[in-house]
């Protein structure tokens, strides 16, 4: 006889198994999101802090009467040669050190721009410089990483970049209360640098901003007008179909192909300058146009015909009906689409690599025609560097990038929530 209960048990078991598979799959995806974010945040947040070490600078050795600094212009101070003086100030931390090699190692605890930092302190406080001032100098990347616990101290000396004696100096300085852990403002304002502790994302933030503004200026009007044409005015014929197929195809073309387009046409045929946010913006706008057009068309389609008919009934022309009544109602949808397109453009890297936006740029760009990097490209550049300090910088850059993306997407969601009309 057919045993129904055994069969049912088997079927229920398989039901449960299937559910468990499903739950495993979805938790796998969710956990991965979590791991990714945790991983980035845990390795990146420390880049927003840096280690500084106090030294005593006897400015009276530069000019006996320190009140005279107030009369000097910034330029004059910048031109002073304080190199030996700065070194001496650092040596004064450990007056007992005689050996040249050890002196050199002591200097290496600090970032190479110590002279400049001593000058900047002078410029900032020139009105009332005391004879002896305490100046906080940026520590070198190796020391910084030790302070942050990213460098294991117990490695054998030859496998460490930081020498035992330097660690000793550092520990003494820390015990004397000379080490201070401060918020790393230069990281947000400065350009790239070959020294991890001096490198900042300021340049690439500005570069990304200029690129995105270019994208906005180009793709927003073109995208919306194209969508209005296709949705409201175009007669349905072969040519219109062709345009539509084109737009859908472009949405699926890999981004790197747009980079080849930028290289082959925009750089080599039109001769626009390489590595600039302008060219990056043009390439990315071509890439985001389909997104904007598709989103705008969808929201134009959602405007009920009664709106158009009402306008036409009171004597508006077709153009007036569309521009005065339909387009304003479709604007929230169009804006949402644009912002999502901008978010895509902000995170895009591959096309920018091909048009040369990977140059090592120290200066913060001031116009779309200056060579610059962008946030994702900066991530790529730093991820390829070997120094430990760049790893936390890369993660921190990713944090900023994700922050901007979340901000953009939140704006899109808010606009949709606030202005969306259900008909």
């Amino acid at each position: 006889m057919f045993d129904a209960s055994a069969n049912l048990k088997k079927r229920l078991k398989s039901e449960r198994r299937f559910q468990i598979f499903c739950i495993t799959a979805i938790s796998f995806a969710l956990i991965f999101v979590l791991i990714l974010f945790l991983n980035i945040f845990s390795s990146g947040y420390s880049a927003f802090y840096k280690t500084t070490i106090a030294i005593d600078v006897d400015y009276s050795q530069v000019i006996e009467d320190t009140t005279q600094f107030a009369a000097m212009s910034d330029d004059e101070i910048n031109k002073l040669d304080l190199f030996r003086f700065s070194k001496k100030s650092i040596y004064s931390l450990f007056p007992d050190i005689e050996d040249r090699k050890e002196k050199k190692l002591l200097i290496r605890i600090f970032s190479i721009e110590y002279e400049d930092e001593i000058k900047q302190f002078l410029i900032k406080n020139k009105e009332n410089i005391k004879k002896i001032e305490t100046v906080y100098l940026t520590a070198s990347d190796d020391v910084d990483q030790v302070r942050k616990g990213n460098y294991p101290r117990d490695l054998p000396e030859e496998r460490r970049r930081i020498k035992d004696i330097q660690l000793e100096y550092y520990d003494i300085l820390e015990n004397n209360g000379r080490v201070k852990y401060v918020f790393n403002i230069p990281f947000l304002t400065r350009g790239d640098s070959r020294e991890p502790e001096l490198a900042g994302v300021g340049g690439s933030i500005v570069g990304s901003f200029l690129t995105i503004i270019t994208v906005l200026i180009l793709s927003f009007p073109i995208g919306i007008l194209a969508a209005v044409y296709l949705q409201e005015f175009a007669k349905s014929n072969r040519f219109t179909d062709f345009i539509e197929i084109n737009i859908n195809n472009l949405a699926a073309v890999p981004s790197i192909v747009f980079g080849l387009l930028g290289l082959g046409i925009i750089l080599n045929v039109f001769g626009l300058p390489r590595s600039t946010p302008l060219v990056g913006g043009i390439v990315l706008s071509l890439m985001t146009l389909p997104t904007i057009i598709i989103a705008t068309r969808a929201s134009l389609r959602a405007v009920p015909p009664s709106i158009r008919e009402g306008a036409l009934a009171v004597g508006a022309t077709k153009m007036q009906a569309v521009m005065h009544h339909v387009v304003p109602l479709a604007m929230p949808g169009a804006l949402t689409g644009t912002i999502i397109g901008l978010a895509q453009a902000l995170g895009e890297t591959a096309p920018l690599l091909l048009i040369g936006m990977v140059a090592f740029v120290v200066d913060v760009p001031s116009s779309p025609l200056d060579a610059s990097a962008s946030l994702p490209v900066q991530v790529y550049l730093w991820a390829e560097s070997a120094e430990r300090g760049y790893v936390e910088k890369t993660s921190a850059t990713i944090m900023l990038l994700l922050g901007f993306l979340i901000l953009l997407n939140l704006t899109a969601v808010l606009i949709r929530r606030k202005f969306e009309t259900k008909w």
Binding site: E15, Q19, C22, A25, I26, F28, A29, L30, F32, V33, L36, N39, I40, L225, A226, V228, L230, F233, F242, I243, N246, N249, L250, A252, V253, P254, S255, I256, V257, L260, L261, L263, G264, I265, N268, G271, L286, L289, M319, M323, L346, G347, E348, T349, A350, L353, L354, G356, V358, P376, V377, V379, Y380, A383, V391, T394, S395, L402, L405, N409
Partner: protein, 464 residues
């Protein structure tokens, strides 16, 4: 200076708008005849005449400026040596421009260059002045013309509206221009490439080492070199290997996620789980690349070594795995939509026969939704093939033919980036090879998308 000129043109346009409107108002009060259009259309009428032609003229001059300057400045050099290479011309021009800006790269400057610098400064100034004169006079004269043309019988609304329609139409043409631009730029370089390297060698050759061509002076390239350096088969194999690994992750996870969200999850869970999974699609690929290279690759290497495999530090497995994660939302949200669109009556019919939920899903829903699901897989594959940053950062650079997921593999996109990053020399087969790879990529992804759409269109059953 370009920005200033554009601002000037816009100012003239704004001025024209007010004048036009004013004239219309005057006409309306003075004449007994009816005026066809609203006042502001007369303003727009003048503004269009003032702005559009002058902007076009300005763009045209800017486009040709470089060419004119080059021909004029380099005329002496070309007289001396008629077969001057394009690259030499660019060098000379760069030197001249630098010298004119006071940057000295060489101690000695030949008299020919000094002459050219004078010529350069002269022609630049001349063109600048001429641009201003021409563009501003075009704007001024045409607005005057438009002003004179405004009479009571002029239907300016019609003019403005047809202008707008043409403008809208032009905007929608940008999509076509982009496609044409892509195809043109890819084809142009690719054809040059195939004139040096036979297409069969490219498609079926087993050895990919373009850097070898790079090392030699491109003047005396050996044809044998060319033949052996550009066999792209290892790249195709690597691309498909990594895409395959990615799909092995994305298809089961994505599909199961979709099924769970569509069939099992409570609306509440669905509301917050779906956006979180879609975050995966919004994360920039460079972030995945970083994660793959620094976190996943070492884990894969350690795991593999513990299991007794030799795993290279840039394994195809790590790159493919992370890429698979990236693609999950593409599979899951499309499949989710398809499963949701299967009519409720099919489910209820199945339940009525006594089937369990999972049986309904496996035997009724999935077959009914299959075309859409396959379509979503194909779209995901095309994503995986075109993905660049993950493989650039986490997969290898050396091309070798391998099916071992623990080995390093390189892909089409990686090689495009490797070849074209930094300074490229144009007209070398190496650079052209990158465009040939790009064309291959373009065609393959286009085909995949086309097939996906066809599958969905052709095999989807209509239930209502």
């Amino acid at each position: 200076m370009g920005l200033f000129l554009i601002l000037l043109i816009l100012t003239i346009g704004a001025f024209g708008f007010f004048i036009g409107r004013l004239k219309a108002i005057k006409l309306r009060s003075a004449s007994q005849k009816k005026i066809t259009s609203l006042n502001h259309y007369y303003g727009y009428y003048i503004a269009i005449f003032a702005i559009v032609p002058s902007l076009l003229v300005f763009l045209a001059i800017t486009a040709f400026q470089g060419y004119i300057v080059e021909v004029y400045v380099l005329s002496d050099f070309i007289d001396l040596n008629p077969n001057l290479l394009a690259s030499d011309k660019n060098l000379l021009l760069a030197q001249i421009i630098n010298t004119s800006e006071g940057i000295k790269l060489f101690d000695e400057i030949s008299p020919l260059i000094t002459d050219a610098v004078d010529k350069y400064i002269y022609i630049e100034e001349l063109i600048d002045t001429l641009t201003y004169v021409i563009v501003l006079s075009v704007a001024g004269l045409l607005s005057l013309f438009a002003y004179v043309k405004i009479k009571s019988n002029l239907d300016s609304r019609k003019f403005v509206e047809s202008f707008l329609l043409i403008l809208f139409f032009t905007c929608s043409l940008v999509a076509i221009m982009t496609t044409v631009g892509i195809i043109f730029s890819l084809l142009y370089e690719t054809l040059k490439f195939f004139s040096q390297v036979p297409i069969t060698d490219f498609l079926f050759g087993l050895n990919w080492s373009p850097q070898r061509v790079f090392v030699r002076d491109s003047g005396d390239l050996d044809t044998r070199d060319l033949q052996n350096a550009f066999g792209a088969l290892p790249l195709f194999a690597g691309t498909f290997l990594i895409a395959f690994i990615a799909m092995c992750v994305a298809i089961p996870v994505g599909l199961m996620t979709a099924i769970y969200l569509a069939e099992y999850a409570s609306p509440n869970l669905r509301d917050w789980a779906k956006p979180i999974i879609e975050i995966l699609a919004g994360i920039p690929t460079v972030v995945y690349g970083f994660f793959a290279a620094l976190t996943v690759a070492p884990i894969v290497r350690d795991l593999g070594q513990n299991a007794g495999f030799t795993v290279s530090s840039e394994s195809a497995l790590a790159a493919g795995f992370v890429m698979g994660i990236m693609i999950i939302p593409f599979v899951s949200s499309l499949s989710d939509d398809v499963i949701n669109s299967v009519p409720q009556s099919l489910r209820e019919g199945s339940y009525a026969m006594g089937a369990t939920k999972s049986e309904t899903i496996r035997k009724v829903l999935l077959p009914a939704a299959l075309p859409g699901i396959v379509g979503s897989f194909l779209l995901a594959v095309s994503r995986a093939i075109g993905e660049t940053m993950i493989v650039v950062m986490a997969a290898g650079l050396a091309a070798k033919l391998t099916a071992n997921p623990f080995d390093a593999a390189t892909t089409i996109t990686t090689q495009i980036v490797v070849i074209l990053i930094g300074d490229q020399e144009f007209d070398s087969p190496k650079t052209q090879a990158a465009f040939a790879l790009g064309l291959t990529l373009f065609i393959v992804t286009l085909l995949l998308n086309f097939i996906a759409l066809q599958v969905v269109k052709k095999y989807t059953e209509r239930y209502d």
